[in-house]
C-alpha cells in the first residue's frame, strides 16, 4: 500500500483539463470533492473513476479535490495519477496498474 507523504496537485484550469489536489487524511477512506460543469450528468461516473483509479494504485486515506473543466476520462486519470505519485514522492509507477 502506497502512502501519501504530503499534499500535491496536478493539472490546470484550462478547458478540457482538470485541476486535482490530493492530501493525506486520518480516516481510512477515499474522500472526493468534485466541482464540474457536468456534475449533474457525469458526477457519479467521475467519482467512480477517481475512486477506482486510486484503489488501483493501492492508496487509501486520501482527500481528493477535483476541479473538472470538461476533461475526458483519460485526462482525469493522468492528472490524478500524477498528483498521487507526487504526493507519495514516487517517481516510477507500476505501469501495468495504470
Amino acid at each position: 500500500m502506497s502512502v501519501l507523504k504530503k499534499s500535491a496537485y496536478a493539472g490546470t484550469l484550462e478547458s478540457s483539463d482538470a485541476y486535482i489536489q490530493v492530501s493525506p487524511i486520518e480516516e481510512d477512506d477515499i474522500k472526493i470533492i468534485l466541482e464540474s460543469s457536468v456534475k449533474e450528468i457525469y458526477g457519479d461516473a467521475i467519482e467512480e473513476l477517481v475512486r477506482k483509479t486510486i484503489q488501483d494504485m493501492n492508496v487509501n486515506n486520501v482527500l481528493v479535490n477535483v476541479q473538472d473543466k470538461g476533461a475526458l476520462d483519460f485526462v482525469i486519470k493522468a492528472r490524478l495519477q500524477a498528483a498521487i505519485l507526487r504526493a507519495c514522492e514516487m517517481e516510477q509507477p507500476e505501469w501495468e496498474v495504470l
Partner: protein
C-alpha cells in the same frame, strides 16, 4: 509506403491539444515531452501522453514521442511509459553521434524484451548541431529501426552561432547534408518547424522550397498548417498523368511477359515505376494540386 508529410508537434502538457490532435489528421502526431514541457510538469505530461497513446482515438494514427535525453532524470522514465503504451516512433531529442542512436535503441530493446513486445519501436533522429550534420550519413545508416532523420533548426543555428532568417541561407548546408544522408540510407528526411503561424505566405514558400529539395515532410506546430502542407505536397496534374502512363506501361509489359518496360521509346526501370506508384498513392491521399 507510409505518407509522412506532416508531423504535428503536440506539447505533452497541453491537454486540449493532446485530446484533439487526431482530429486534424496529420500523417504523424508527435507528442513532445522535451523542450515544450516545463521541468515541473515532466512527470504529469508523461502520464498524459501514456494515456493518450493507449486511447482508442490514437490507435489508427501514427504516433511519435520526443523523449528527454537519456542523461537527464526524465529520459528513461519517458521510454518506460511510451514504449509500454505502444508508441510507433521514438524521436531522439538530439542526435550528435551514432552512439546516441545505439544507446537509445538498446534502452528501448531492453524495455520491449521486459514486456514481451514483438513490435519494434522505430526511431527518428533529430539533428540539431554541426556535429550531428557532419555525422549524418553514419547516423542515418546505423540502425534498421531508424526510419528518418529530421533537422532541428532552432538549436542548430544556435550551434552555428547565427540566427534564423526567412531565406534560410544558414540552413542550406544542413538541409543538403541531411537529405543526402537520408537518401543514401533510404530513410525519410524531415524539415524543421516554421514557428510564425501568422505568416501563411512565408510558410508556403518554405514548404515549396524544401519539397523542391526532396524532403519527405515537415514538422508542424499548428494544425492550421496541415492543409497548406498537404496541398503543396500533392502531385500536379502533369505528375499524375505521367504516373498513370508509367504504371500502365508497366502493367502492359507485365501482361505481355516483357522483361523491360518502355515508354515513349525510353526504358523505364524499377525505381521510376516505384516513384510513379508513389505519386498515385499521394494523389489519392492528398488530391491533385492545381497550379
Amino acid at each position: 509506403m507510409k505518407l509522412r508529410r506532416s508531423m504535428l508537434f503536440v506539447p505533452g502538457s497541453n491537454t486540449a491539444m493532446v485530446c484533439n490532435a487526431f482530429i486534424y489528421k496529420p500523417d504523424t502526431v508527435m507528442f513532445d515531452l522535451e523542450d515544450s514541457v516545463a521541468l515541473s510538469e515532466k512527470d504529469s505530461a508523461r502520464l498524459m501522453v501514456f494515456h493518450a497513446l493507449n486511447h482508442f482515438v490514437y490507435k489508427d494514427v501514427e504516433t511519435a514521442v520526443r523523449v528527454n535525453p537519456l542523461d537527464s532524470p526524465y529520459g528513461l522514465l519517458d521510454l518506460e511509459a511510451v514504449v509500454r503504451a505502444g508508441v510507433d516512433i521514438v524521436r531522439l531529442p538530439k542526435t550528435d553521434t551514432v552512439d546516441d542512436v545505439l544507446e537509445m535503441q538498446a534502452a528501448i530493446e531492453k524495455i520491449e524484451n521486459e514486456i514481451g513486445r514483438t513490435k519494434k519501436t522505430k526511431l527518428l533522429a533529430a539533428i540539431e548541431s554541426a556535429l550531428g550534420v557532419v555525422s549524418a550519413v553514419d547516423i542515418a545508416r546505423c540502425s534498421d529501426r531508424l526510419m528518418g532523420i529530421a533537422l532541428g533548426a532552432e538549436d542548430f543555428v544556435r550551434d552555428l552561432h547565427t540566427q534564423r532568417t526567412k531565406q534560410g541561407a544558414e540552413l542550406m548546408a544542413a538541409r543538403s547534408q541531411i537529405l543526402l544522408a537520408a537518401r543514401a540510407a533510404k530513410i525519410h528526411a524531415f524539415d524543421s518547424i516554421f514557428s510564425d503561424v501568422k505568416d501563411k505566405e512565408g510558410f508556403l514558400a518554405e514548404v515549396n522550397y524544401i519539397k523542391g529539395l526532396g524532403f519527405d515532410g515537415k514538422s508542424l506546430v499548428n494544425p492550421n498548417q496541415i492543409s497548406t502542407l498537404h496541398e503543396a505536397f500533392a502531385p500536379s496534374i502533369e505528375d499524375v498523368d505521367w504516373a498513370i502512363e508509367v504504371t500502365e506501361a508497366a502493367k502492359e509489359a507485365q501482361e505481355q511477359g516483357l522483361g523491360v518496360v518502355s515508354l515513349d521509346g525510353r526504358m523505364v526501370d524499377a525505381p521510376i515505376i516505384a516513384r510513379a506508384q508513389w505519386t498515385l498513392e499521394l494523389a489519392q491521399a492528398s488530391g491533385i494540386r492545381r497550379d
